[in-house]
């Protein structure tokens, strides 16, 4: 069941006390670069998830987050990250990795600002002792990430599939 719609400009709602608490422990963070073709996939998935379940979980579209990812994950118990991946598999292949269990493979995730990519940011958070208890990384295999290119059809095709899987994951977390 969905919460009621928030009031304009985040004003405290009259029925605030009776409102079900928003699940602040689940956070969805979409990563990437919106101008580089398939590199935008994480941002687009997050955008869709905001429409689907943004009233129940925190959704952040973090363009070129780099090291800021450490800060963006703080305070959450469960984090879902969505990023572009490149491991040589067919474009559109969906990877689901457990970032909390151990290092995820750095080379398959493109690096962002200051040469710090998703895998590096997770390791930094781990080294600092601030990694959330559960971090699930969804990587979508990309075809092209050149400046100004549109999303490839292979990636566009699986976008809703990733959205659906994360919605299911979130439901499982909340169950």
């Amino acid at each position: 069941m969905r919460d009621e719609l928030p009031d304009e400009r985040g004003k405290k709602r009259a029925s605030g006390e009776s409102r079900k608490p928003r699940s602040s422990r689940i956070r969805i963070i979409g990563l990437g670069n919106g101008m580089r073709g398939d590199d935008a996939v994480g941002l687009l998935v997050a955008h869709r998830l905001r429409q689907e379940i943004g009233d129940r979980v925190d959704v952040i579209e973090a363009e070129m987050a780099g090291v800021d990812l450490v800060e963006l994950m703080k305070g959450a118990n469960v984090v879902f990250l969505i990023d572009a991946a490149r491991s040589g598999q067919a474009p559109g292949t969906i990877h689901r990795l457990d970032g909390s269990a151990g290092s995820i493979s750095a080379p398959i995730f493109p690096r962002s600002s200051h040469a710090i990519g998703t895998a590096d940011a997770l390791e930094l958070a781990r080294a600092m002792g601030v990694l959330p208890a559960t971090v699930i990384v969804y990587g979508v295999e990309v075809e092209n990430t050149e400046v100004g290119r549109p999303l490839s059809s292979a990636v566009a095709k699986v976008l809703e599939q990733v959205v659906g899987r994360i919605v299911q994951d979130c439901e499982a977390c909340r169950a």
Partner: protein
């Protein structure tokens, strides 16, 4: 991820190639090839991939009001610099003079970008070199509190960017004539406490980095920076050099020339045929008399004497500029009164406009030709890293002889450290720098 040594033989007799896979902690994609013959350094070729070149073509045919959003995407680390040089150049064409509170806000957002960019480089990218770690992550395991301080400092810069730019990366509110939205005074005041904490942390940072052990290395530099009559430079000033050069920004292309080198797809920029230095070290050397007393006292306490000639002292200059950016943003926030309108009205007219502003890594030159409909017909962008390329190569030439007796891996690591002094921002998305060194067997 990190620079890992890997030796391979090359077919040519009496030579060997040292290939270092990925040099860590630089921004961008590129490669370095060093050739050593008879124990002497022959060729030092820094090859870099540079997106601004593509953006120059990309901008043609776009409307002027799209330019700030497009150029912000050139770099995830210095988008404000690209926006500022762009809007100033276009405002020159339209005869707009952005002043008062709007100008102050532009300085404040630029402060935010310097804080973000410099804090990351000081703490995560360069400090590991001085503390003996292969990466910021390895350093964080032993020095979590230092890294926490660095990330919190960076976050103070992010907060400024988010408030004034609408978001911390690729800000969206900067426009020709001003901003699409300006903050209320109370919103800016909301930043104050964190900026005060950050100012103290910045003082500590200067003391910390000044205590590092630095190699004796003092090449003879020509420093180039903007210079303003009263201010430490961000948006405005004349271009000055240690050689005595003192020109208006409009004269840039008469004195500075770009030329192609076969091994790099970024153009090399020279001043009267010679390489030169831009960035924090050059700015501090040429503009230290524009720093506030409080900042100068902190610099004087380090015991370092000006001008700073050692490229490794770039980390000190960068830390001093973090402190300056905090002092300056606090000063401007304290006197801020909301302007009557977030931007000036624009009357489009045809012409050519030129501007240069101080990006975190040095002067960033933009020239645009706009037609009567406000459409960009020509764009030229000269980023700081392309200006520093020749200087990096010179430094490597001078530094390499002292490490040639070391193992291939150690020599390559030393090269990486020299390169990192410049905080090169080679490109903005894909990142690796390969290093090949060929020398006598």
């Amino acid at each position: 991820m990190e620079g890992t040594g890997q030796t391979k033989s090359e077919g040519e007799k009496n030579t060997r190639t040292i290939a270092v896979g990925t040099i860590a902690r630089v921004e961008g994609e590129g490669a370095l090839r060093v050739t050593v013959k008879d124990g002497r350094v022959q060729d030092v070729e820094l090859k870099i991939f540079e997106p601004p070149r593509f953006f120059e073509a990309f901008l043609q045919g776009r409307h002027y009001d799209e330019v700030p959003d497009i150029v912000a995407r050139i770099c995830g680390i210095c988008p404000v610099a690209y926006q500022m040089s762009a809007v100033h150049a276009i405002e020159q064409i339209f005869g707009l003079h952005v002043d008062g509170a709007l100008r102050d806000l532009r300085r404040v957002i630029y402060c935010g970008e310097w804080i973000e960019s410099h804090a990351l480089h000081v703490f995560m990218l360069q400090a590991p070199d001085f503390l003996g770690y292969e990466s910021g992550i390895a350093m964080a395991k032993d020095h979590a509190s230092l890294v926490t301080r660095g990330l919190r400092l960076k976050k103070a810069g992010n907060a400024i960017m988010t408030l004034l730019g609408g978001r911390s990366v690729h800000p969206v509110s900067v426009k020709v004539g001003g901003f699409s939205r300006v903050p209320f005074r109370r919103e800016l005041e909301g930043l104050r406490d964190e900026l005060l904490w950050a100012r103290d942390a910045a003082v500590e940072t200067v003391r910390w980095v000044a205590g590092f052990e630095y190699p004796e290395f003092t090449p003879d530099y020509t420093c180039v920076a903007l210079r303003h009559p009263d201010e430490y430079p961000f948006n405005k000033g004349r271009i000055v050099a240690g050689t005595g050069l003192d020109i208006s920004v409009d004269e840039f292309e008469r004195h500075f020339s770009e030329h192609q080198v076969s091994y790099s797809n970024a153009l090399h920029c020279t001043l009267q045929g010679a390489p030169y230095l831009v960035g924090p070290l050059a700015r501090v050397n040429l503009n230290h008399d524009r720093l506030p007393q409080a900042v100068m006292r902190v610099l004087a306490d380090t015991g370092l004497s000006l001008p700073l000639r050692n490229p490794f002292h770039g980390i000190v200059a960068r830390s001093i500029e973090i402190l300056y950016a905090l002092e300056e943003s606090l000063r401007l926030i304290d006197r801020y009164e909301s302007p009557s309108a977030p931007s000036l009205p624009v009357t489009v007219r045809a012409g050519t406009g030129i501007a240069c502003t101080e990006a975190p890594r040095g002067i960033l030159y933009h020239r645009y030709r706009v037609d009567g409909d406000g459409v960009i017909r020509e764009a030229k962008i000269v980023p700081p890293t392309s200006q520093n390329q020749g200087r990096i190569e010179q430094d490597l030439r001078l530094f390499l002889p002292r490490v040639l007796d070391r193992s291939n891996e150690e020599a390559a690591l030393a090269c990486e450290r020299v390169i990192r002094c410049y905080d090169p921002c080679i490109s903005c998305a894909t990142h690796f720098l390969k290093l090949d060194m060929t020398q006598d067997a």
